[in-house]
Amino acid sequence: MQTAPLLPSTAPFAEEHIAALNRVISVSTAEQRAWLSGYLAGLQAASGTHAATPAAPPAKRAPLTILFATESGNAEALANQARKVAAKLGFAAKVVDMADFTPAQAAASENLLVVASTWGEGDPPQRAVDFYEALMADDAPRFEKTRYAVLALGDRAYAQFCEIGRRIDERLAALGGARITDRIDCDVDFETPANGWIDATLQRLNAEVGAKDAGASVIHVDFARPGADAPTRARPFEAEITEHARLSGSRSSSDTHHVAVSLEGSGILYEPGDALGVVPSNDPALADAVLNAAGLAGDEALRNALVNRLDITTLTQKQVEDFARETGTPVPPAEWAAGRQVIDLLETAPGKLSAEQLTALLRPLPPRYYSIASSRKAVGEEAHLLVAAVRYAAHGRPRQGVASVDITARHRAGDKLKVFLRANPHFRLPADNDRPIIMVGPGTGLAPFRGFLQEREAVGAGGRNWLVFGHRNYTHDFLYQLELQDWLKSRLLTRLDVAFSRDQPEKRYVQDSLWDARADVYRWLKDGAALYVCGDANAMAKDVHAALLRILADQGRQDEAAAKAELDAIRRDGRYLRDVY
């Protein structure tokens, strides 16, 4: 059975060595791994030998363009990480957002590293759509001068895993580009393989285009960093919950909580629009069910891993196939995994796995990200989260969101949450405090806008603020209603529109509110308003996008193509920003 790699298959080791190393790594702590990498690097520096060729900084610094396409910020973070590595290798590296780049500019780059995420059901990130479509078009430029490599980000839980990265990679090859190394397709636990791939790829590129002098070590390990730095996913901050209150009414069909955590001493300095990563634990009852299904009940160490470290819910097609091979059972049809989870898979052939096999089958437990619903200028060293517990039934079994239920049901005020910051630099208030903003945030999509409003209130920003909120029932789901009323009274909030879908026979959503207010939406946009959308990516964000196009066409008396061009221009102007999930 193939392991879920902690070291990538591209690591410069034999396959069995990779597996062996991963067995050690998979049970290691973050501290142990940091020590190990530091120790080996230090040892190597002292011995003065190096396996790969170079490299002292190239005499003439080779140019490198690191192009990213991001929705959540992960690809951008990796691009910036790659730039650091490249800089240390001596490249003249620059990081560019696909939103601000054309294929022609990319084709003019000698060395090109692409970090591209795939969104939803195989879509490019919204801001990368123009570049992507131009690259795929018949009149795309040739890339014969360009050496390139693609790092693809995705989520194996979706069928079109890493689709965008794959297609860019193939397209660049078809257009004459020279691959530096094979593409890597990273799952949600991308950090380790991605960083390994970046190191390897840049070293290889450096070997091809860099300086001749092979002397100094190129591996830089920052011994000073651990502990002194801002918390990370691997080293989260234990934040005390200072307030934990359910906002949904007792008769609500949803279960949304206001959770305030103290960041005192964490070094986390967030801006409105940023997200807080939360490292969750699994439901212990589900962990026990998984143990039972695997026939491994009683293994405390394994149980601990299942609760705290491994993803025991998400089921990928790869896991289905691995499990079938491992247990000698037939592979179910491709659609079988849809809506099912690990427990369903194990129960198809109970009691057939060893602890090692089960551990290897499972992916690491990923963190979850919550848009921060506060401004430090208003709440000091706290961050507020708006968390809706996810609960549903599928294939005859009740299911729960891992982090949302962990936070809302298994934590109380006084407990601690493991958190770290994920910056979201593309979802910020306008630099100009006088610029009007329209915020479209149904459900927990309201979160960042509460942060925006707190911030604008704290700094005395003069710009008009228009919020469009939506949920199911007015009476039971009007999140932060009293605060919004106060902000209307103080005139911080210029306008509020609401759409509650289940209060009347005809369903109403935020896009309906926008359409009903289309003349004003258009006027605000003409006045230079920035429009923000936060919340559900699959339905809401697409419906809002379509509504905006209709509004621009209707109010601007123009056809669809012209409306699309106008919205694109607004987006390129940084005035149409989305934080969707």
């Binding site: 906002l247 009414g249 007015y474 009476t475 932060y480 209603q481 605060e483 209307l488 609401v498 009347q504």
Partner: protein, 566 residues
Amino acid sequence: MDIERPLSANEGLKERSNFLRGTIANGLTRVESGALADDDTQLTKFHGFYQQDDRDLRAERGKQRMEKAFSFMVRMRVPAGILTPRQWLKVEKLALERGNGTIRLTTRETVQFHGVLKGNLQPLMQGLHEDLLDTIAACGDVNRNVIATVAPWERAHHATIATLARDLSQHLLPKTRAWHEIWIGEEKISGGVVEDEPILGRTYLPRKFKIAIALPPYNDIDVFAHDLGFIAIVQRGRIVGYNVVAGGGMGMTHGESETYPRAGTVIGFCKPQDVIDTAEKIVTVQRDHGDRSNRKHARLKYTIDDMGLERFVALVNERLAVKLAPARPFAFASTGDRTGWTQEADGTSHFTLFVENGRIRGTMLEGLHAIAALDTGRFIMTPNQNLVIADIPPAQRPQVEALLAAYGLEKPLSGLRRNAMACVALPTCGLALAESERYLPDLITRLETELERFGLSQDDITIRMTGCPNGCARPYLSEIALVGRTPGLYNLYLGGAHEGIRLNKLHRRDVDGDAIVAALSPLFGSYATERRPGEHFGDYVIRAGIVAETTAGLDFHANLSHEAGA
């Protein structure tokens, strides 16, 4: 008689309201709150609805950072309580789509929608308007819905009083177009036209005003409970005119003995063609002489008792073209409804459906939908919160019977439950001090056990419960009444007349369920053994000396027994 005292706050509100418009229209656009502006919530009563909040949820709302769970109770105006099947289907649809999915039949022969959100008010009103219904003056300081005896088997007489109810309602309706403007979107009256309220006046009446028409021997509408009542006098098969009853009213305030329920007084007789004028003039006397400084002392009953009956009758006669004649004899048998089937000689049938406390939901709603879909007969809401499916032709009776059976709508009932009424009270009524609609059915179940012990299961005894002393279920005319004092505790009244002609008397103060059963059970026992032939429970308790007889509103609080805490 008038001592100059400042007008009550509502008088200024009405004066400034621009004929009941206020800022209601603006309030509808304020999406951040489910409520309207405070002043407007007084004006909306004239439009037929009350702002309320779910009191079950009050405690949790603050923690949830949400305002109170506001919604509105919308009451229809349906003179004589008659709807077509098509109108019933519309009411049902609106209750499901715009309300809380229930239809609440009230003691004023109408429908209340509960749980209507602010954003659903306009669609609800427009839906009613499409089917020629409205909510104008269903609440507020105006003439409320005019009710009439529900006896469709009386054919022509019933048709006559139903038409009279409709004409009275129309004649006394506010003339302002505010309702049509705000809810239906009618164009505002252009600058030149000056609005006026020739009957009600620009500040409308001092307080609510209620009219009921009785067709003896039925006193289902409790003709003595209203500001103004008409008792049809039938001679040689024709309604020759109506006795006029004035000054009835139920509301009082706990601990304020200057407030009291009063049974109306028969003040004379008028011919059918003079009824509208008589009603109008009595309304104008109340308009001009009613107390506009104290809303707890503003009903017609106080106007009459303050000035004396003779002076009041004289004032009315001064304004009438045709003076009141001496009252004629009449006799009532009962205030209850005739439940179940009534078949006429020609085969036409009427079915009176018992609706516990008037609340229709779930299976009953579905069953009535199926019956209304037959598009036959009429749906008549009774003053006892029941529903008559009237005028069913012989050919369709089997279908109706089959549907009643299929939905389980015909159930055996005890005499007590058949004659029970409760107001809405908690969780939506802002006035409620205790449970009523949600509690009375359980209490009756306990009392039924006691009645069964004494063989009284099928005896008709009226019992009425209200969550506060304002009297929506007309408790003070009931043989047994329970009026809420505080959660779980009620004042127990006894001795009302079965036929609704006499007020009851306080018997026990602040009793809970156990104490109520303990107080009533021995009385049921002695009633079963000591009663005279045909003697009703309310009459028995007076003859047996359990409570003193109440002869007038002014002695309602007098002659209390030791147990009642006199």
